[in-house]
Symmetry: C2
Subunit: 481 residues, 2 copies
Amino acid sequence: MEWKPDKVNDLPLYKQISNYLESCILNGEWPSGSRLPSERNLAKTFRVNRSTINSAFEELKSSGLVQSIVGVGTVVSKNVWENDQNRTPNWDRFVKEGFYLSNNPINQMIYQLIQTEEKIINFGIGELHADLLPMKLMENVHRSMKLDGDLGYQHIQGNIKLREVISTHMKQYRNITASASSILITSGAQQAIHLIIQCLLCPGDSVANENPSYAYSLPIFHSDGLNTHFLDVQDEGIDPEQIIDLYKKHRIKMIFLNPIHQNPTGTTLNLERRKKVMEICNKYGIAIIEDDPYSLLTYDDEKMYSLKSMDTNGLVLYISSLSKIISSGLRIGWISGPQPVIQRLADVKQQIDFGHSNFSQWYATALLESPYFNEHIIELRRGLKNKRDLIVEAFKHELHQDIRFIVPNGGIHLWCESNHKTINDQLLFNDAIKRGVIFAPGNTLGSQHNFFRFTYSRPEMNTIANGIHRFAEALKASIKK
Amino acid sequence: MEWKPDKVNDLPLYKQISNYLESCILNGEWPSGSRLPSERNLAKTFRVNRSTINSAFEELKSSGLVQSIVGVGTVVSKNVWENDQNRTPNWDRFVKEGFYLSNNPINQMIYQLIQTEEKIINFGIGELHADLLPMKLMENVHRSMKLDGDLGYQHIQGNIKLREVISTHMKQYRNITASASSILITSGAQQAIHLIIQCLLCPGDSVANENPSYAYSLPIFHSDGLNTHFLDVQDEGIDPEQIIDLYKKHRIKMIFLNPIHQNPTGTTLNLERRKKVMEICNKYGIAIIEDDPYSLLTYDDEKMYSLKSMDTNGLVLYISSLSKIISSGLRIGWISGPQPVIQRLADVKQQIDFGHSNFSQWYATALLESPYFNEHIIELRRGLKNKRDLIVEAFKHELHQDIRFIVPNGGIHLWCESNHKTINDQLLFNDAIKRGVIFAPGNTLGSQHNFFRFTYSRPEMNTIANGIHRFAEALKASIKK
């Protein structure tokens, strides 16, 4: 709800609000029988006192548009429609049905706060702050771009120029050989994962995820059809032997891994384990979905080679994106793997959204082709390392006796565990927001409670220390309780 | 497959091709056991003679990489991998599974030809040719655009500025009152339809579609879970009484309509029928999904008001897009309807693709806000009317005794029926492609055979007559058979 009352308007705030709600009701935006948001939520949305909302509701009640129902809330009246025989579609039932589960309420709240008010310091969203984006490079690309390309639908696997540039990029930066024909452009890694699950698996199939993992936070892994099992992430990544156990017990067909600078733990599957994973999956014919958003973001000079770079057997479907190395707003990701699989995924992507915006594909092509791209990656690593140092410093300073964490040597996440086992994660999260800081509670990512993910790429440099200070205060307050 | 052999290279073509295929096999792009495309298809893809592909295959066979299996084709050998104990994941089974059906093979072929070679005249894809796009306006927008906006993830309903501009646009051009909060930005109308089906319906639900319709061509309507029934489209659109029949027999919960300049028939549900549809759906509580891509494209001055513009009851989920009025490459569509429904759809869109590219949202905002937008729409209508006149003229000239059609007074499609009942649609389609013209066979859109859709917005002005001439020759040849 983005409309806001106008505080310099002559009309009293409550009246502006009741007028707005009335127009929404009369447009059908709040159909008869539907429940309005709570007074508390509306007060937050419109940035007014709760008493103002209360007055607006009274106004609507007196005109008969809404009524209070005990135990339900404020509901749009049935009798506002001239003809009593009319029936509104049962939207409430529609909303509760369908294939997809809803997001976890904590994640819903985090996504609502994506465009954070300035006073909130946001460690909750996995993306780069503008201070890490290649703004100058983008402006150059923008200025030199001519809009003379094809403005119609693209090839169903995505713009051919972009796929060729990604093929070159993968060779150069990731030691992966993949022709443009084996690449499908997706709306970030997010869509890649959904396409794979919906096109290649069917109800009753068993798969394995890392635990904790970003994938855990995706409701699709918890939907009815899929049997999702877990591979525990340790300091050196998953234990490959666990794959064999899961295969023998559950005949897992597919495993989802984020081997390098894992989200959320920041750990990397060491080389020996990576080889072992390939060997095991080769032996049992288990497909690997490798999500690799971070391998370019290693802070030291060690090159991190993905499972895909070791794959000559068509074992791995490799997912990556430009979200964590250029900008999440481009919404450019890709999948690379066996051509018959890529063609199947492309056929379904055509059905679902008829491909990706040409505009962002042109920008992505120009950015990856730019001779300054490499320089940007070097600067980005440096910037992330600085932020990592700041957050590590801040945690040591504020909470050195209260939390433990592994210092990440790449990527964008810091994963920590509180030494106090009695904390209520939900209360801590709510209290932290009140104090102006957001993080991702570990249980939304599959861990036991008491763990937290801090994405240090998201806040500005000069707010990191303050953000951790606020978190420390919230944590200390919750320990005392 | 976009790689092509280099005809000026010293290496013989067959050798270049066998080297390329070998590298794809060794990368795992064609895993062991997978079937290579047929010689015929590869010859087409690489634009060489079939004998060249045959030589390349012989080369691969002699090195043991592939083998011929009678009744199957050319298959990647199992023994190319050093270790015989390795098992490739059963990609073939993966590709055949999953929730989504494949596209109809004819549609797959049409989508493969999206970026048509110049010599093919393409009436098969529902989009505008560059000669109808507001190129000057776009260039102005591009030049005056500053990349200082937020480059991160957007609000999960889409960029707020764009939603506000769409809200204003709907008021001004469509007589629809909808606040920005009741709008969700989607990747074209295509994604809107998929979100609605997957979020609001569940297996066993009954819905109704127009027949013929674009929706018919979407495999999701034929997937197992949904019971899809049909409302026959006549010259004045569907018969509202049929909705009552379907409700009584099948308890349909939702109907999908494209009431104005319908795809594919070009017909418009007349005002009286539109009112009747609203009355019936109000009475039975049936939700209406109104797909309205064309209402701005009426050639005469009559304003076409959508069902949504008559809806005060929250009965209609309204879908539209910029694909047919600005450019399909923007991939900007939207859904407007009851806020709780929009919020549910937005929550799932976040899960699926984490929102839409910022870049195309900025362009869309600037284009809709431009004072020249109205002028563009007027020019677009004029351009479409000219193309309509040309195609009507061409049909009358070439085939006046062989086909019947309704002259469309808006939109982009012409629907025609052959007077000869013995034609084989598939053979006619294939023959037409050989002669350099593509159209959409009616049976892919749900009609009986013998019907054809010609999207006259897609070819250039000066190719329309020639395209219909080619079609006429193909049709006459198929009548003779």
